[in-house]
Structure formats: C-alpha cells, structure tokens
C-alpha cells in the first residue's frame, strides 16, 4: 500500500473498530437466538417421535393406505419447498441452500416445476432469475410459528391434493451442531415409507377405526415434518450467522493489530523526520 498519512491510518483503525463492534454485537445476538431456536428443535422431538411411532403401528393395522396424501401418481409437475433465511450475513447459509436447490431445479424443465419459497433471501435470488413462485413465505421470525407453519402445510398439501404438483421436495438445512449443519433434500409428499416390515399393530384398540385415525394423523404428520424442518433451518441460520460474525470479529482484530503496527511506524517516522529537520536547522545556524 502506498504511504499513508498518520491521519489516514488512525481513521482506518477507528472504522475497523466500529465494524468490529457491530459484528461482535451480531455474534452475541445470534448466540441468544440460537439458544432459543435450538431449544425449540429439541422440544419438538418427543411429539414427532411419538407421532412416527403411532403412524407405524397404524399403517400396520390399517387396511388400505389410500389416503390422498399417500397417493403415488406419475409425476408431471414437481413442487420444491426452498427454506432460506430472511436476512444475510450468515456466512454461506443461504448460498448453500440455494446451490442445493439449483441442482434440483436443473433436473427438470422449468414449466414442470412449482416453487414454494421460504425466506426473503431465496425469494430475491429466484425472482432475479425469473422464477414465479407458487407460494411465498417471508418474515419468518426467530423461532418457528406453529400457526403459520400449519397454514403453510395446508397450502402446500393443497397444491398436491389439487393435482397442481404430483410430488413435493423439501430443501432445507439440518441443524447438527453449532459448527455443523448440512443442506438436505427430502421427499415431503406423497408421504411414504411409513410402514416397514416388522411393524406390528400391537394389541391396540383403534377408536373409531385405524383408517379414520390415519386420516386425522396424516395432515398433522405433514405439519410436524414442516415444523421440524423450519425449526432446524432457523437454528442453522442463527448458528451460521453466529460463526460468521465470530470470525469477522477475529479478522477485525487481526486487521487492527496490523494497522496499529503501521500507525506506530508512521508516527516514529514522523518524529525522526522532525528531529532530523531540527538538527538540520540548528546546523545551518552555526
């Protein structure tokens, strides 16, 4: 870099320090939000596990699994639910989701795809590329809102039940740990793989009938899955942002250290120069 005046370097240092304060604050805020989001991920597990279990004993007991949400049809159109975040500055969180989504979207002609876009980031990215999403959900909040996810599920299953799409995939980020998350693509509809070999109905009495309970259970099963996906996606976003802001804060530290060295050197150079000038001036007076 060209020679900078002492003034310039001091200004730089102050500016980096200001940025660092912001990144540090964002890191702490994300840590707090992550804690809440993570608690929600864990709190939702017992219900989901029990429902899974119930679904298995039911599908072993039910006669025909001919619920509309189970219906496998030849696929003409595919729905893709893409879960991103509302905000950026979360490292590669949004980019990773969108990259995975792109891969899926390239497999089929555009006219055979219907997009369900969750989060403002994915919406911006996809509309810029000329996509017209069938459904859009933004302003997600920091933890999932069960009422909204319920409505969301109704609308997405609506696309499937009306025949607008014949299958639905879910692209979202699984939360593994604070430092570890993975974007996954999962089949959402038709609901499949419920019954496996060796599941038994047990000796349960089913009231009113296995099929009736089944009909009531499946829509809720869909809600539970979407709610879990949303919870994990939000927890992933907060953790990604926390980590990104943490390393930004560290980078700022390094930058400040180097600038301080440069500032000291520049100050020393200025002093030396002044002394030299004084000495030079004194010599000239002799």
């Amino acid at each position: 870099m060209a020679v900078q005046s002492l003034q310039d370097i001091r200004r730089r240092i102050r500016s980096v320090q200001n940025t660092q304060q912001i990144t540090r604050a964002m890191e702490m805020v994300s840590a707090a939000k992550l804690k809440r989001a993570q608690a929600r991920v864990n709190a939702a597990r017992p219900y989901a596990a029990k429902m899974d279990e119930m679904l298995r004993s039911l599908s072993a007991a039910a006669e025909g699994l001919d619920h509309p949400l189970f219906e496998k049809r030849p696929v003409r159109r595919t729905g893709v639910v893409i879960m991103s975040g509302d905000r950026g500055l979360a490292g590669s969180f949004n980019a990773n989701v969108l990259r995975m989504a792109e891969r899926l979207l390239h497999e089929r002609p555009r006219e055979d795809l219907r997009l369900v876009v969750v989060g403002r980031k994915a919406l911006q990215y996809l509309t810029r590329r000329g996509w017209k999403p069938a459904l859009v959900y933004t302003d997600l909040g920091d933890v999932p809102d069960a009422t909204r996810v319920r409505r969301m599920t109704e609308e997405i299953t609506g696309l499937f039940l009306s025949g607008e799409v014949d299958e639905v995939f879910l692209v979202f980020t699984r939360f593994i740990s604070t430092l570890n998350r993975r974007v996954v693509t999962e089949k959402f509809l038709p609901i499949e793989g419920a019954a496996s070999e060796g599941d038994s109905a047990g000796d349960y009495i089913f009231e009113p009938s296995p099929d009736a309970i089944f009909g009531a259970l499946l829509p809720r099963y869909a809600v539970t899955r979407l709610l879990a996906a949303q919870a994990e996606s939000l927890a992933s976003e907060h953790s990604a942002r926390m980590v990104a802001m943490g390393s930004a804060t560290q980078n700022a530290d390094e930058m400040i250290n180097q600038l301080v060295i440069r500032r000291n050197r520049a100050r020393q150079a200025a002093i030396t120069k002044e002394i030299a000038e004084l000495v030079g001036g004194a010599e000239a007076l002799k």
């Binding site: 939702a44 017992p46 219900y47 069960a146 109704e154 349960y204 009231e207 309970i213 709610l227």
Partner: protein
C-alpha cells in the same frame, strides 16, 4: 378409596407440556368422551375439540381445553398428542371470541373463495374454548 395411578404425558408439536401421575382422565374422543383409568387396554384414538378432565391421586381435578389430537394408552401410561392445549386459566377468551365471530361471519354467505371445513373447524375450536372458560366461571 384407593385408586391406581398411571402416568399422563401431554405433548404438542411445539413442546412437551407436562407429565404427571393421574388416576383418571376424561378425554374428548372424536366419537364422544371417554374415561381412562389405570390398566386400561391399549388404545389409540383420535380426539376432537373438547374438554380434558384430569384427576390426580390427591383428588385434584384440572380442566383443559384441547383443540384436537390423539391419545395413546398402553403399558399403564397415556400419551396425549394435542394440537393445542390450555388450562382453563390460560384460555384467551377475547381471542376465542374474536375467532368465533370471524368464523361465524365467514360461514354466513355461500362463497366459493372460502374453505368451509376449515372455517367450521375454527369455529368449533373457538366455541370449545369459550364453553370451557364459561363453564368454569359458573362453577367457581
């Protein structure tokens, strides 16, 4: 009278709500109310909107509003998967009243842009909350 107790756990999609020992529950089955005592035969049932009455071993009775869900009984424990559940004191009467009025308004006309089953269910849930909140007020 000595009555056997069993464990009731209540879960919602969002969180486990509580787990405790009870001697009896009366739950709003989709086909009508059903009572569960200890050592009940294994059972899985769907629940409709209604009143859940829980009696603990000390004889205390608690009443909850359930908006729907499932109940599994077996192994001398009961697991209730509720869409939503509120103790009577937690019921937001104002909100339920508004929801009821809104649903009633929507159900008035015959329009194609309205999802009638959904409206009807919303009204049933709101009325259930109101009924339970009202009933308690009369008792106390």
């Amino acid at each position: 009278m000595e009555t056997a107790a069993y464990t009731l756990s209540v879960l919602t999609p969002e969180r486990p709500v509580f787990e405790k020992d009870v001697v009896s529950i009366v739950a709003p089955g989709s086909e009508g109310y059903l009572g569960i005592l200890a050592h009940h035969a294994p059972l899985i049932t769907a629940l409709g909107p209604g009143k859940l009455t829980v009696t603990d071993p000390e004889g205390n009775v608690e009443i909850y509003a359930v908006s729907g869900g499932f109940l599994e009984v077996g192994n001398n424990e009961a697991i209730l998967l509720a869409d939503t559940i509120e103790a009577v004191s937690e019921i937001d009467v104002e909100r339920a009243r508004r929801a009821e009025a809104r649903a009633r308004e929507r159900l008035k006309g015959l329009r194609t842009d309205i999802d009638y089953p959904r409206c009807y269910n919303a009204m049933a849930r709101a009325q259930n909350r109101l009924r339970i909140a009202e009933a308690l007020r009369v008792h106390v």
